[in-house]
Symmetry: D2
Subunit: 337 residues, 4 copies
C-alpha cells in the first residue's frame, strides 16, 4: 500500500527502505532536501514541501511522522490542517503519550485518525525489523496492518504462532486507544534505561576487581580497603561479556551490543561518559509517580544519567560545604582517575 | 574423561546428565541416597559415602561440588582431607568468592587445586548448556577443558569463532586465579537482579496504566491523581511482553521467560511476591562498596527483595510514628489491593 | 488586622487560635458547622456559608484557605467569584504549585491577588509558630505582613537579626511570584521525606544488630549470615535516639520526635507501617525530573512509601515468576516476622 | 581523673582541652611533637614516645586513641603490649566496629579492657560537647564515667532528666559490649549521609527552579522541558535555608550549618563537589546487607559520593557505547555548566 513518511533521519530513512523493499509505495518529505533526493534515488516519491507531501498522498492519506519529540506536535497540526476526514496521521517518534491522547482528541473532531506507534529497534531495524507498539482507533490500525507487518521483524524462523496469538509474535501489537502505543514504548524505554544501567554498573564493578593492587592513601578522608587480597583480579571485560552471551541468565541483545563495543575497545576511550536521555525515561518515572508505583531501579538509572551530565555538582558542593562546616573536612583534590 | 559430582539437586543432576550424554564418566554422591540411585539408573557410578565417592575417583581426582553456599566450605574441607597432591576440587555452587580465595590458598599447601566455577543457566542448562565462569590455576583448568566444553552451550549454530577468540564464544571462560570464577558469577547475578527488577518495575507501571479508571479518595492523606485522562489504558501484559521479544532493544532471555510466565497467568496468582535472594546480590554490593564503585541500580534491586520479605516494616512504622508526631497524621487502614 | 480562614481542620483551627491570641480578627468558615461553632466560642466571627464568609470580610478581603489539595482549586474559584478587585486569596494548604501559577494568572485578570503560602510546623505550630514560605505579588504579600509575622515563630530568643537579613530569621519569607511559596514548600516536604527515611533506615539497621542471635535456615533460598559474631548487639533504640539529640551531627526536630515516639513504645506496635504520602514528595520528584536534577535519595524515600502501601507486590510477583522460570526457585512461605 | 590521649588532630586536641577545662589531668602523645608541645603549653603532660606515654599513665591506665581508622588497629596492639591487666584502651576514632569486637576479644585475654567510643560533634565539640556512643565491659565504662560526662554536652539547659533516664539525656550512652559504640556511631554516620543528601538534593532542585528561563536545544538527544512556565523562579537559597530553620519540620543542626555556608557564599565556589566518605557509610551499608535490611536512601547517599569522585565514569561510558550501538546516538559534548 501507499504510505507517506516525513522525517528522513536515521530511523525514518531506514523504515522507508524496509517498506519499499517489501513493495510498499513511499511518499517522502524532509526539511533537508538532500535526504529527500537520496530516498528518491532509492525509489521513493519525493515532496519538496509539506503541502506537496500531503497532496501526493492517495486517500485515505496515511502520513507517518518520524520527528524529534520537541517539534512533532507542531507538525502534526500542520499536516492535519491539510487533511480530510478519513485520513490518518501516524506518529512513530518518541513523543510523550500525553500529546498522543490530546492530539487524538483534537484530530478526532475533524474526522482524522491519530495513530501513535512506539518504534524500537534503532539503527538495526532495517535489517532486523522494528518492534511496533501501536495505539489508535481500531479501523485506522487495521487499515495500516500490512505496513506494520512489513516494518516488524515477523515471526521467529521456524516458529508457527497459533492463530489466536494475534500479531505480537510477529513483532507488532495494537496496545489500545490513541496514546497506548507511546505509553507502552515509554515504559519500554524506561526498562531499557534500567537494564542498561544494570549491565554498566556490574561491568564497572568487574573493572575494579583489581582495586587491591592499587595504592591507597591512609588518611582520615579516605576509606581504607579492608581486604585487598580479595581484589586482585584483572578481569578481561570483552571476554566476560562474550561468555555471558552463551547460556547465561542475563543474555540479551543489549549484552550482545555491549560485548561488541568492548571487543572494539575495552577502554571505550572514544566516550566521555556523558549520557543523554531523550524523554521516555523521565515520562516513565512521572507515570510511576502519578500512579504510586515504586520504580527505584528505573529512577536510579535515570538519575545516573542526570549526574553524568554534571547535574549533581551543586548538591555535591553542598555536601562538601556541610562536611567542612561540621568537621573541618577539606575536599581532596581530583587525582588522575 | 571421568568427573565426580557431589550434590545431586536441580543443578548437579542435570549437569551429570549433560556430561554423560557427551560420553564422560560420572561418579556421583549425595546425602539423599535416592538421588544417587536415580543417577545410577541413568548410567552414573554411585557412591554411598563421601569416602566411597573419593575412593572411586581416578587420579588425578576431579571432584565437582554443587552444594548450597552455607555448607560448601565444610564439605570442601572433608573432600580435600581425603585427597592427594595433584587432585582437583571444583566448586560449582553459588559460594562467596572470598571463600574460594581462602580455600584455594589452604588447599594449595597440600598440593590440591581449587577451581571455582560460576555456573549460570538454571534448570534450562541441561538443554541449553551452562555458561561457565572459571577461576583457578592454569593447569587444573586446562585439565578440565573437555568437561567445561561439554557443560557449556558451545558456539552459536552457524558461527565460526576465530582461533584467537578463546573459549568465551563457546560459553566458558577461565577468568583468572582461584576466586575469579565466583567473582564474575557474583557480578553476573548482581546484574541479573538489576535486569529482573527493571522489567518488573516497568511491567508494574504498565499494569497501573488504568489508574484513572479507579476511584480515589479525596482526603489529606491521599495524593490526588492529577490527570486521570492519561491513565485509561488496560494493557495486555502477556501480549506486550511477547511483542517486546521481537525486534525491540530490550529483548532478552529473561524477557522470554517473563512473557512465558505472563502467558500462563497474567495475574501471577500463584506467587505471593516474597522474593528470595541467595547471596550473590549481597556480595556484589559489598564488592561495589569496598571498591567505591556506585551501584544504585543493583542495590535498589536488592533492597526491593529485602522489602518484599517484610524487612522494611519497622522503618515504615517509624515513618508513620514521625508523621503522627509532627502532623497528627493517622495511618490509613490497609484496603484490599 | 482582619483575616478570613476557611477550613478549620487541624492546621486551620490552630492558625486561627494563634492569630486571635495576637489580636487579629478572624472570620471563619468550614463545611463542618461544629468546627465553626467551636472557633466562635474562642472568639472568632463565624460564617454559615461561603457567601456569608466572603460577605463578612472587610475590604480588601483576605481569605485564607486551609483545605485538602484535591478540593482547593474548586473552592478558590468559588471564593474568587464572590470577590472584587484588590481582594486577596491565600492558599495555605499543600496544593501543587502548578495550580498556584495557573490560579494566580486567572485571578489576576479579575484584579484579585493570589498568595500561596507553604506552611510547615504541623500540630506544633500553634505553640512553636509556623514556618511560612510565601509566593505572590509584592503588594499583597506586604499587606499580609503582620499576619505572617504572627503565624511565624519569630526570631530566636536572644537573637537580634540584622536589619538587612529580611524576614527569614523570623520564620517567614516571600520566596517569589505566585507559585514560589508552594514550590519551596514542596521541596521542603521532599527533603522531609528523605530525612525521615534516613532516620528510619538507620534505626531499622540498629534494630537488626542482634541478627546473629537468630536462627537462620541453611538452604539455597537463604543467604547465609557470614559473621554472626558481629551481630550480637541488643540496641536500646529509645536511649540511642535520645543520646543522638545531644551534641551529635544528626540532631534535628524530627529526631526529637522520633526519640519521643520510641520512648512511648519501642516497638511502635500501634502502627502497621503503611505510610501515606500527600503529594509534595511526588511533585518534588517531578520537578527534579523536569529540570534534569538527580534526586536518588528523595525518590528512594518516596518509593519506599509506595511499597509500604503494597504497590510493589505485582513487581515482586514477577521477580518470583522469573526466578521460578529460570531456576525452579519456589517462593519461601511468609514466616512470622 | 587522669586520662591519656594519643592523636592530637582536630578531634583529639579539642577533647583534651575540654577535659582539662573541667579539671581532668591529661597525658598526651602524637607523632607530631609540635602538637604535643602545643598541648603541654595548655597544661597537658606531654610524652615523646609511645613508651613514655604509657609509662606516664597512673594505674589503671586509661589510654584514649583518636587516630585515623587505617592505623588504629596497629597502634592499639602497640599500646596494649605495654599495658597490664586492669588497664583500659579507648578507641574514640571512626574505626570499624568489627575491629572493636576482635580487639576486645584479643585484649580480654591479657586482662585489658577495650572500650570503643563513637564520637560525634566535629569541630564544634569543644564548645558544644561531644555525643558519645560507648561500647565495652561494664566496669571499664563505669570507671570512665566522669570523663564521658565532661566530654558530653550535658543535659539541656533547664531540663531536669529523671533519675531513671540514664545518661542519654546528658549526651553519652553505654550502648552494649565492645563494638556496640562504634556500631551505633557507624549507623549514626550512615544516617548523616542520608540526611545530608536529602538537603543537598532538595536545594539543588530549588536552584534549578529557573530552568524555564534557560534556552534548551531541540534535538533528539535532549529531553524537552514541557512546561517552562512552571520553572521561572529565582530562589534565594540562603534566605530559604534560613527560613526553614524557624519552625519547619526539617529544622536541624545540619540545616543550620547549610544555611550558614550558603550565607557565606550562595554559589559555594570554593568547593569542587568531590565528596569524601570516611568508612562509616560503607560499613552501615554492609551491615544492612548482612542483616537483610533495606537501606535505599542510605545507599543512594553513599553512591552519590562515589559518583562525585568520578567512579561512575566507566559505567557511563558503557551506557554511551550501548546507545551508540543500538541507536547511533553520539554523545553530546560537555557544555559550560
Amino acid at each position: 500500500m501507499q504510505i507517506g513518511m516525513m522525517g528522513l533521519g536515521r530511523m525514518g530513512a531506514n523504515m522507508v527502505r524496509r517498506l519499499m523493499r517489501d513493495g510498499h509505495e513511499c511518499v517522502v518529505y524532509d526539511i533537508n532536501s538532500a535526504s529527500v533526493a537520496g530516498m528518491v534515488k532509492d525509489g521513493a516519491i519525493g515532496a519538496a514541501s509539506l503541502e506537496e507531501f500531503v497532496a501526493k498522498l492517495a486517500k485515505p492519506r496515511c502520513a507517518w511522522l518520524m520527528l524529534p519529540a520537541a517539534i512533532t506536535g507542531r507538525i502534526v497540526d500542520q499536516v492535519a490542517a491539510l487533511m480530510e476526514p478519513g485520513d490518518i496521521v501516524i506518529d512513530g517518534g518518541n513523543s510523550y503519550y500525553h500529546d498522543a491522547v490530546d492530539q487524538a482528541a483534537k484530530l478526532a473532531v475533524k474526522g482524522i485518525s491519530f495513530v501513535d506507534v512506539g518504534t524500537s529497534g534503532g539503527v538495526w531495524g532495517l535489517e532486523r525489523g522494528y518492534c511496533l507498539m501501536i495505539g489508535g482507533p481500531d479501523e485506522a490500525v487495521k487499515h495500516l496492518d500490512t505496513v506494520f507487518a512489513t516494518l516488524a521483524p515477523g515471526a521467529d524462523p521456524g516458529s508457527n504462532p497459533p492463530k489466536d496469538a494475534g500479531t505480537a509474535p510477529y513483532g507488532y501489537l495494537h496496545c489500545g486507544p490513541s496514546g497506548a502505543g507511546h505509553f507502552v514504548k515509554m515504559v519500554h524505554n524506561g526498562i531499557e534505561y534500567g537494564v542498561m544501567a544494570a549491565y554498566a554498573e556490574g561491568i564497572n564493578i568487574l573493572k575494579s576487581a583489581n582495586a587491591g593492587k592499587r595504592d591507597r592513601t591512609a588518611d582520615a578522608e579516605t576509606s581504607p580497603l579492608e581486604n585487598p587480597q580479595y581484589y586482585q583480579f584483572d578481569i578481561d571485560l570483552p571476554a566476560v561479556t562474550e561468555v555471558w552471551r552463551h547460556g547465561s541468565v542475563i543474555g540479551s541483545w543489549l549484552l550482545d551490543l555491549t560485548a561488541g563495543a568492548l571487543k572494539g575497545d575495552p577502554t571505550l576511550a572514544q566516550y566521555g561518559g556523558r549520557v543523554s536521555d531523550s524523554g521516555e525515561g523521565r515520562w516513565t518515572l512521572k507515570a510511576a509517580i502519578d500512579t504510586g508505583v515504586p520504580a527505584p531501579v528505573l529512577s536510579s538509572a535515570l538519575f545516573d544519567r542526570f549526574s553524568s551530565q554534571g547535574e549533581s555538582q551543586f548538591a555535591d558542593k553542598l555536601l562538601s560545604a556541610m562536611r567542612y562546616a561540621f568537621g573541618g573536612h577539606v575536599e581532596k583534590p581530583k587525582t588522575g582517575a
